[in-house]
Symmetry: C2
């Protein structure tokens, strides 16, 4: 039954965004009990093909606009900063004005625990500034991130003050203002299903994975920032250009 419905959707017989037959209708069409219908629909939902809304119906998932997170954004951002322009890697990707998004922020001073400590190459316990961000456009959350900076590097600077966020020019610009010009970025990417809190704040429907990026920002051999970035998998395409010469 799930196969049959999947076929109808793939072949376009039930176009994206449209309503599937109701559970009662499917019971009649396939001559099965409601539990069986619901099992089939649960499968399609877990595959990310449909979304169900209480009191409305089950919809074929519409094709969503896809953001692009690319390696080139760092190069573009660096250029901007050097030219003294504004923008953040978030807005450079989105190609939206840097003022058109909102930011939830939460700053804490924490001792380095193990994943972060190792990525920084410092001994656990070293004090870090932890900054949590939720980026929103048009009011909907698009990205969650947790960024770590060495506290010794930013204490008593404007960077450590949440009131200065969103910072025009973003991370690259912040580090620049501290006297650090980034020379390399390392990104490690995994795909996994969202945790319950990620599912909530990013409003991720069933059957949609997230892309989790662990980013290390380098100035020569030194790691000056570590960040964990989580984005819904149906809304991003990562784009990396690797020069071999």
């Amino acid at each position: 039954m799930a196969d049959e419905l999947r076929h109808r959707m793939m072949s376009g017989a039930i176009p994206p965004g449209s309503l599937l037959p109701s559970e009662a209708t499917l019971m009649a069409e396939f001559s099965v009990a409601r539990g069986t219908v619901r099992e089939a629909l649960a499968l399609l939902r877990a595959e990310g093909l449909t979304v169900s809304e209480k009191g409305r119906g089950t919809f074929v998932r519409p094709v969503l606009p896809v953001r692009r997170l690319g390696s080139e954004r760092y190069r573009a951002e660096l250029e901007q900063v050097r030219r003294g322009e504004l923008g953040t890697s978030f807005t450079v990707d989105q190609r939206v004005d840097w003022s058109s998004y909102t930011l939830d922020k939460e700053f804490r001073e924490v001792p380095a625990a193990d994943p972060a400590a190792e990525l920084f190459g410092v001994t656990p316990g070293t004090m870090l500034l932890e900054r949590r961000f939720v980026f929103r456009t048009h009011g909907v959350a698009q990205q969650m991130s947790t960024s770590f900076l060495l506290l010794s590097m930013v204490a008593d600077t404007p960077v450590a003050d949440p009131a200065n966020e969103p910072w025009p020019g973003g991370n690259t610009s912040q580090l620049h203002s501290l006297g650090y010009d980034i020379t390399a970025v390392r990104e490690q990417v995994v795909a996994r299903m969202p945790l319950p809190d990620e599912k909530d704040t990013l409003r991720i429907p069933g059957g949609v994975p997230v892309v989790a990026i662990t980013r290390q920002t380098y100035v020569d051999e030194m790691v000056v920032e570590v960040a964990d970035i989580v984005v819904p998998g149906d809304r991003v395409r990562l784009d990396y250009l690797i020069h071999l010469t």
Copy 2:
């Protein structure tokens, strides 16, 4: 109920790889009907936290070894080829001997359809050599890929002969043998749930996404190869190093 069980797993009360209480036991413990128990377990399965086996039980998903697909592999591979050594990007990642894996292969000559044609920058209809591969280690499929080459470039060469696969030195070496030394690679990455056939051949359990990589291999400004690579999300970590200088 799903929350409670998730907590027990996260906190280590039910360690990875171990058996969850049976459905009958859970019915008794939570005083609910079997359907309710099964709904909770279906949720955990969709989240990728558990796997169920008929006649055995439901297990907490064990932590799997993670392969690394990195940007550095292309640099390493290029070095190898220049030194005249063997290896493929697959074996360089895995750090296994190039002879320890097996390969399913299937070659066809096809006219360029739209995604591939656009990625090559050629007019649709241009003839391509399509090569489908399934990489296996220890008998289990680890990666599916479809690679396209311009037929005009490879017709009547050893590269177009399936009997020469697996080719020692891999793709980079094949292109080298044709007189092309690759200068850049572009990878576009998306995360999504597996299609039914991917789920089958890669034996992907419920709740595990795949990472799909669209790769363009460049010699200067020319695209000489296009490949679609699909790997189970719970078995890979992509690692990109971006130099900004």
